[in-house]
């Protein structure tokens, strides 16, 4: 029978995705980029919408929330999963509102006046059944997928507006977005890139080889030399893992030092981040903010005699406060860090911030 088969098939896929997430974060499995994760999550959510059994929007949202909680628990540092889930939940709300015929768009926006005057909005429980809802939701998710596929290109298209010729650009670690950005600028302009290698994983090395293959003059420096060479740098362009709700970043470790050095020399710091990295988290949640990997990367087991008497830390991420950032470049254009809260209110519904 198609029903149970589909369901087992669905659960299998979800389980496969969860174990992939768990493995991917430890650094041992194949490292997948955030864009890939976002696409896979969205595709999986589309499948859930298509194959799971639900009657009303509320049911669907419950199912998605449940699966979403499991997914985020599998790999808390991979915030794109949570972001995509929240996007889809918002899509469902919108489609539901459209089917109902009411112009819910305006009510969704938070304004103090609305909060005080209309107290009964949260009575909405999404229990009405609409036949066309499924098709609409799946169509909207398809649109989301198209948008996801085009993010890197949209960001790279803006490269020539920000890079002039004979510049010295600094970057850290490896970001596929920044790589595409710089390669696109290289088509018309000539400039020099300095890459900080970002120990202990040294992703900067791969970035440098890729850039030099694309005919860009590249220099690799150690993390310790970031401040030393910063006086000759014109711009700092970095990627990030997550953009937080206050406009700050959760980026690879060493980025905070880079941002401070850029601030000291008044060098602009540009962050290339697609919209699916925007997360409604705030940096104060200490227990979930930092992620650590094996200290073997920092102090190998060959140093056995002292290893047991020493604490070794190997954090993966850094927090960069929004005051140090000059500009965000995303697939919908450039923004200042102070505008991020507004973008977030357009992408996610406030009730979905907590899954």
């Amino acid at each position: 029978m198609p029903g149970p088969d589909k369901e087992t098939d669905l659960t299998e896929r979800i389980e496969a995705f969860l174990s992939d997430l768990k493995r991917g974060g430890s650094g041992t499995g194949p490292l997948r980029g955030s864009a890939e994760t976002a696409r896979e999550t969205t595709a999986l959510l589309r499948r859930i919408t298509a194959q799971a059994r639900w009657n009303s929007a509320g049911d669907l949202m419950e199912i998605i929330r449940k699966e979403g909680r499991r997914m985020t628990a599998a790999q808390p540092s991979e915030t794109t999963v949570g972001n995509m889930i929240r996007r889809v939940l918002k899509i469902i709300r919108e489609e539901y509102a459209r089917s109902r015929g009411s112009s819910e768009e305006a009510d969704q926006q938070e304004s103090l006046h609305k909060l005080l005057t209309s107290g009964g909005l949260s009575e909405e429980n999404f229990r009405q059944h609409f036949a066309a809802l499924k098709a609409n939701v799946i169509e909207a998710i398809n649109e989301l997928l198209t948008e996801l596929e085009g993010t890197t290109d949209n960001i790279s298209m803006q490269a020539l507006e920000h890079i002039h010729s004979n510049e010295v650009i600094m970057t850290i670690g490896r970001s596929r977005t920044v790589e595409a950005f710089l390669k696109d600028a290289r088509r018309k302009r000539k400039f020099h890139v300095i890459v900080a290698e970002c120990a202990p994983f040294c992703q900067g090395h791969e970035m440098a080889t890729n850039l030099s293959k694309a005919d860009i003059e590249t220099t690799v420096i150690t993390d310790a030399a970031i401040f030393a060479v910063m006086s000759r740098v014109n711009k700092v362009i970095i990627g990030t893992q997550t953009v937080l709700a206050n406009g700050g970043l959760r980026a690879v470790n060493g980025t905070h030092t880079l941002a401070l050095a850029a601030k000291h020399h008044s060098t602009p710091l540009i962050v290339c981040a697609p919209m699916f990295k925007l997360s409604p988290q705030f940096p104060n949640e200490e227990d979930t903010f930092h992620k650590f990997v094996s200290p073997h990367e920092v102090l190998p087991f060959t140093e056995g005699e002292i290893l047991s008497k020493v604490n070794v830390h190997c954090p993966v991420f850094d927090y960069v406060p929004p005051e140090l950032i000059t500009l965000f470049i995303s697939n919908i254009g450039g923004h200042a860090p102070s505008y991020i809260y507004r973008l977030m209110s357009e992408l996610y519904h406030p009730e979905d911030h907590e899954l």
């Binding site: 690799v220 150690t222 993390d223 002292i306 850094d318």
Partner: protein, 537 residues
């Protein structure tokens, strides 16, 4: 000699060639003859050039070449570092009067007087012209300095900062040839911002890259040079102490040749050794100060002193220097620093500084309760050495890499840093990464304390880490992770460069306090200390 065109006495040339091939040290007469021949050639060439063109390059070679024989005559007292006798080494053109024909009949003193008069005239005309960019930095400095208190410091740009100037390289090659020291060649592609510095490879030991004439250079110095070039002896204190011990050995084995004075000949003996050590690894500021001290002591030996007496005097001088400036200074600094360490402190240190390790061990002996965070960086990973030493004493330590410093800094209460040198404008020159740590500490409002002995204070000024630095072997950056070496073939890729800096400068506004053996001073008081030291001497 390569450029011996029209020489007189081909017999002399053969003798000299033979001596060089044997690796034997040229006798004094042979050296003098060589010098005279070269002077003749140069004078002949210069006359032709003067008539032919007013090219700036040739002109800059002239004041350089006419002054270069000046340090050679042994009669000159080297105490004053020869600024009055070797002035105008600045590559500024406008030497109006061509040098008169140099008749060998004239005595050396007369020649020197002539040269001095010529150079005074040149300097006067230069003051009037003030044309070239190169001359401005020195020429501008001189008229501003009031003649009463401050001597006009004629700065000769050191060779190791001019690796992109072919003139200077040629001059260096000739000087090394004269001293019979082999020249070391640069390795690998140099990042364009640093093309003025040398970059050597450390993969093969020096003995495979150069042929070191063992009879010319004392074996203790050869060993020292190899230890420097391989990084076996590293750290400014260790290098200075090793240098002084090697010089002690040289002095012990030294015998004054007949008809020579110990005070002058020994200094001349030391010069090729210093050139050789410079080839192995550029000298540090502390080593430079130590060498200056030794040269001064040697030249201050009265001429009627017997050799044995003189030698023992020198040995005790060197012992004294090591004891006072390094060992006792460390004790004094430790005593002052321990007052700054309180119970419950979390102290952050970077890399391996012998002085900072000493301070922490002393504080631990005095039963202060603190814990240490050791920050380390690639590719040298010197922090592991510091970690071993501290853990052996029983101090509880944490270890992170420099990219994690902004994660760990909220826990830290104080930062202790060591220094390689303290510059006269208050900047701290230290291992690369120190300025970064100071920057992040400042952002988190954590006090930064620098510990430095006074013998490392130096009169140079510098504002960034580019103009004077050391480039280490770029291959050190290559790392193999998960079986893949990304940068393995970086030499084949034309557009890829690796940069391995050794030092950087920290601005004084990041440093809160400098702890020296003279007390605790702010960063900006360094020139005051230098002045007090100069007055003492």
């Amino acid at each position: 000699m390569a450029d011996s065109g029209e020489t007189e006495g081909p017999g002399n040339k053969d003798v000299i060639e033979r001596a060089k091939n044997d690796g034997r040290e040229l006798t004094k007469e042979e050296k003098q003859r060589l010098r005279k021949e070269k002077k003749q050639q140069k004078k002949g060439k210069e006359k032709k050039d003067d008539k032919a063109s007013q090219d700036g390059e040739k002109r800059e070679k002239k004041p350089v070449s006419s002054a270069s024989p000046a340090p050679q005559p042994a009669t000159q007292p080297p105490t004053q570092k020869a600024p009055p006798a070797v002035p105008a080494l600045v590559p500024v053109p406008a030497s109006e009067t061509p040098p008169p024909g140099d008749k060998p009949a004239k005595s050396k003193a007369e020649l020197k007087a002539e040269r001095r008069a010529r150079q005074e005239a040149e300097r006067a005309s230069k003051q009037g012209k003030k044309g070239d960019v190169g001359g401005q930095q020195v020429a501008a400095g001189k008229p501003k300095a009031p003649p009463s208190e401050l001597q006009p410091v004629v700065k000769r740009l050191p060779e190791y900062m001019q690796a992109d100037n072919p003139e200077v390289l040629k001059k260096l090659a000739k000087k090394l040839e004269r001293q019979q020291i082999p020249l070391r060649s640069d390795y690998g592609y140099k990042v364009s911002l640093f093309s003025h510095l040398h970059q050597y490879s450390r993969k093969a030991p020096l003995t495979q890259q150069l042929s070191i004439p063992s009879t010319v250079i004392h074996p203790a110095i050869v060993r020292l040079g190899l230890q420097y070039s391989q990084g076996i002896v590293a750290g400014s204190n260790a290098r200075s102490v090793a240098l002084l011990h090697a010089f002690k050995q040289v002095i012990r084995d030294y015998t004054t040749p007949p008809n020579e004075e110990l005070s002058r000949d020994l200094v001349n003996k030391l010069k090729p050794y210093i050139s050789f050590l410079n080839q192995c690894r550029p000298l540090s500021a502390s080593m430079g100060n130590a060498i200056k001290y030794i040269k001064k002591e040697i030249s201050n030996i009265p001429s009627q002193c017997k050799e044995e007496e003189a030698k023992s005097k020198l040995l005790t001088c060197i012992e004294c220097y090591i004891n006072e400036k390094i060992i006792l200074a460390a004790k004094a600094i430790a005593k002052s620093s321990i007052e700054k360490i309180s119970d419950g402190d979390v102290i952050l240190v970077y890399g391996c500084s012998s002085l900072v390790n000493h301070i922490l061990c002393e504080a631990f002996e005095k039963n202060r309760k603190f814990r240490v965070i050791v920050v380390d960086s690639r590719p040298r990973l010197e922090g592991r050495e510091a970690l071993r030493r501290l853990v052996q004493r029983g101090i509880s330590c944490t270890y992170v890499l420099i990219s994690a410093v902004s994660y760990i800094l909220p826990e830290v209460s104080k930062v202790f840093l060591g220094a390689h040198a303290l510059l006269a404008n208050g900047y701290v020159m230290s291992r690369v990464g120190t300025s970064q740590i100071a920057l992040v500490a400042k952002a988190f409002n954590v006090p930064v304390l620098v510990c430095c002995e006074t013998y490392k204070f130096c009169e140079r000024v510098q504002t960034d880490s580019f103009v004077s630095n050391e480039l280490d072997d770029p291959d050190d950056l290559i790392v193999t992770r998960k079986g893949k070496t990304q940068l393995e073939h970086w030499q084949d890729v034309r557009l890829l460069g690796l940069l391995n800096l050794v030092y950087d400068v920290t601005p004084p506004d990041f440093v809160d306090l400098v702890i020296t053996d003279l007390g605790m001073i702010p960063c900006t008081s360094v020139p005051v200390v230098l002045r007090v030291k100069n007055v003492d001497q």
